[in-house]
């Protein structure tokens, strides 16, 4: 372990989750402590979005946005509806080509790569509307991600099994994923992204559509994932409670442009953010708590 250990390799030989060196708390100190332990892998230790622009037939959805996610860090990406958050995630994971700018993993420029190649750089993601393989079993759903990054069928099966145990969902293993309750489907999506041994995770509204209890469960799940795995996380959500509890830093978009970035406190006191985002959040408050 130690310096040579990639943060993504959170499963040991026996296929069990193990803690990354020491337990990382939510305090900044813990994160710094962990960051120093992965500095050795500097070539892959940052996901960098460099002045990215995305146009849709005259509409500029993302406008000159730059951000950085370090391994072991959780960056929240917030903004009103239509501010370009999901578009930015789609650009990073290769589902949409950029109109300008670059996306890098460490020093490797992955701009314009096909999604499956980007996946090979261990960038996992979840979707705003659940994108499970409905007719495949829950176990197979998770196996696909493990196999997709080069694992043998057998090892993928073992990994999927242990992830299901970790998520307390072994009983659902043989069910078609499409038959699960919505909250469980969201959990399977997270498990699936984790099966890739991600260095970076992109979470697109992981709590959307969940009721309060499920939302708390998801928060607990993500918090434990964050502590145990130490991959870099870029999370988009409307639920400010989730964002505030989970994130080290926050990046705020409005009309595709960066209007603020910084720690949770800094951002929540930024007058421009209050006007653009928190103002409209009042309308969305109903949706979130519904």
């Amino acid at each position: 372990m130690g310096l040579m250990h990639m943060p993504g390799d959170f499963l040991n030989e026996a296929g069990e989750l193990h803690l990354h060196g020491k337990v990382i708390g939510l305090s900044g100190e813990g994160v710094v402590g962990m960051m120093s332990s992965i500095e050795g892998n500097s070539d892959l230790s940052k996901l960098i979005v460099q002045r990215v622009t995305k146009d849709f037939a005259g509409l500029r959805a993302v406008d000159d946005v730059s951000l950085e996610v370090r391994q072991g860090e959780v960056l929240g990406l917030i903004g009103p509806n239509g501010s370009g958050k999901t578009t930015l995630l789609n650009v990073i994971s290769g589902l949409l080509p950029v109109s300008g700018g670059h996306v890098l993993v460490g020093e490797i420029d992955i701009t314009g790569w096909a999604p499956h190649r980007i996946a090979g750089k261990r960038i996992g993601r979840t979707f705003q509307t659940v994108h499970l393989f409905g007719a495949l079993t829950v176990l197979e759903n998770i196996e696909v991600a493990a196999v997709g990054v080069g694992m043998s069928r057998r090892r993928a099966g073992e990994r999927a099994q242990s992830l299901l145990e970790e998520f307390d969902m072994e009983r659902t293993a043989a069910l078609p994923a499409g038959t699960l309750a919505f909250g469980q489907q969201r959990r399977v999506e997270v498990a699936r992204a984790l099966a890739m041994q991600p260095h970076f995770m992109l979470l697109d509204e992981p709590a959307a559509g969940l009721n309060e209890r499920e939302c708390d469960e998801m928060l607990g799940l993500l918090a434990s994932v964050r502590e145990k795995i130490g991959c870099g996380v870029l999370v988009v959500d409307h639920d400010m409670r989730l964002i505030m509890r989970l994130c080290d830093r926050i990046h705020v978009l409005n009309y595709g442009r960066t209007i603020a970035e910084g720690t949770c406190e800094e951002v929540s006191q930024n007058p421009e953010v209050i006007e653009a985002y928190l103002g409209s959040a009042e309308e969305e408050g109903e949706v979130v708590s519904a």
């Binding site: 994971s93 290769g94 589902l95 096909a114 999604p115 499956h116 980007i118 996946a119 090979g120 960038i123 996992g124 993601r125 979707f127 994108h131 499970l132 393989f133 409905g134 007719a135 495949l136 197979e140 759903n141 196996e143 696909v144 991600a145 196999v147 997709g148 990054v149 080069g150 043998s152 069928r153 993928a156 073992e158 099994q161 699936r192 890739m196």
Partner: protein, 356 residues
């Protein structure tokens, strides 16, 4: 013995499904072989060859979700290629007088001959599939349909190798009942093995959700392409077997009609499972033969001086529409056939607890 079966079922979850298909098929083959009725034997051989074709088609269509109307072109290429490789030079002088060079001299034994013919077809499929597998949905289906037409025209015009529109004759009858049964069983097993393989799993994921599959690391074009080439190989084998069963072939016998029949077998049975392909083949073959027997009897009466020509096709069409309306997911609803519950329980009781 029973515990060994149970162990096998534990290690290969699909073995149970495969056995549920293979055992009854082989039982019927034994029964008909003993009964020794020539007509029933021929029906059964035809059905086994159709099983090869339809399971081959299912391997691609079922796992990728792309409907192909082009696979019968691989059947045709496989059939003609096998004839060129297997027929004796003495016969080729009569059937293919313009043929020169090594092809006119070659004479391979049957099994190596059909395997080489299938490999040749797979290479062709590999080239065609490379651009084709980038298409999805109805565009992909139309492209495969175009492939069927192109292949047909080429076969008709490559008269040196195919006798063009004229029937190719002089083939030996190598495809016996047990030869066809052997390949049908082997291809059914291949269907299960492929589905559970890495590529099969990734392909099924891409069928369900393309975007998610690609961001999970699935190279959709490649996994589709592998399935396309493997299924072309299998359909070519089916064509080669069919040629050496009928002993006469022409480009017309491996065209629209066969395409319709094989695709109908797959859809009636259910594209989602190997069992569906098998069930559909059995159902359509049974229906077809029953209707044909009725047509012959009705024709014998000569009601108002008329025969019942077309009776089989019309009622087969009606039956297919009814089946698809009543069971839109196919006879097997995309599921595999499992052991009866009682037998399962007994076997499971004997299964030693596995390490997992």
């Amino acid at each position: 013995m029973n515990s060994r079966v149970a162990q096998l079922l534990g290690r290969l979850p699909w073995a149970e499904n495969a056995l549920m298909l293979i055992v009854p098929l082989l039982a019927v083959a034994v029964a008909i072989d003993l009964y020794d009725n020539l007509m029933l034997k021929r029906i059964l051989i035809g059905m086994f060859i159709n099983l090869v074709l339809v399971v081959g088609l299912q391997l691609f269509t079922g796992n990728s979700g792309l409907v192909s109307f082009g696979h019968i072109s691989f059947m045709a290429i496989g059939a003609y290629a096998s004839v060129l490789l297997i027929m004796s030079p003495a016969k080729k002088v009569y059937t293919l007088p313009d043929l020169t060079g090594p092809l006119s001299q070659i004479e391979m034994p049957f099994i190596p001959g059909i395997l080489l013919a299938a490999a040749f077809t797979a290479v062709i499929a590999a080239f065609i599939g490379w651009p084709l597998m980038r298409l999805s949905g109805s565009a992909a289906t139309m492209a495969t349909f175009a492939l069927l037409i192109i292949t047909h025209v080429i076969l008709i015009n490559a008269a040196t190798y195919t006798r063009g529109t004229r029937t190719m004759y002089g083939l030996e009858n190598y495809t016996t009942l047990w030869m066809s049964a052997f390949w049908a069983v082997l291809i059914i097993i291949t269907g299960f093995v492929f589905r559970e393989s890495r590529v099969g799993l990734m392909l099924r994921a891409s069928r369900e959700q393309q975007e998610a599959a690609s961001v999970m690391g699935v190279n959709i074009v490649i996994v589709r392409w592998v399935a396309w080439v493997v299924s072309a190989f299998i359909c070519a084998l089916g064509g080669a077997l069919w040629a050496h069963f009928m002993m006469v072939i022409s480009p017309y016998t491996m065209y629209m009609h066969t395409t319709f029949l094989t695709v109908a077998m797959l859809i009636v049975g259910g594209t989602g499972s190997v069992s569906g392909a098998v069930a559909g083949t059995i159902a359509i073959t049974g229906l077809f033969e029953a209707l044909r027997a009725m047509e012959i009897r009705i024709s014998a009466f000569r009601i108002a001086g008329q025969t019942a020509a077309g009776f089989t096709e019309v009622w087969l069409g009606v039956a297919m529409i009814l089946l698809v309306v009543l069971r839109p997911m196919g006879l097997t609803m995309g599921q595999e056939i499992r052991l009866p519950a009682r037998l399962r329980g007994r076997l499971e009781a004997r299964t030693p607890k596995s390490e997992g």
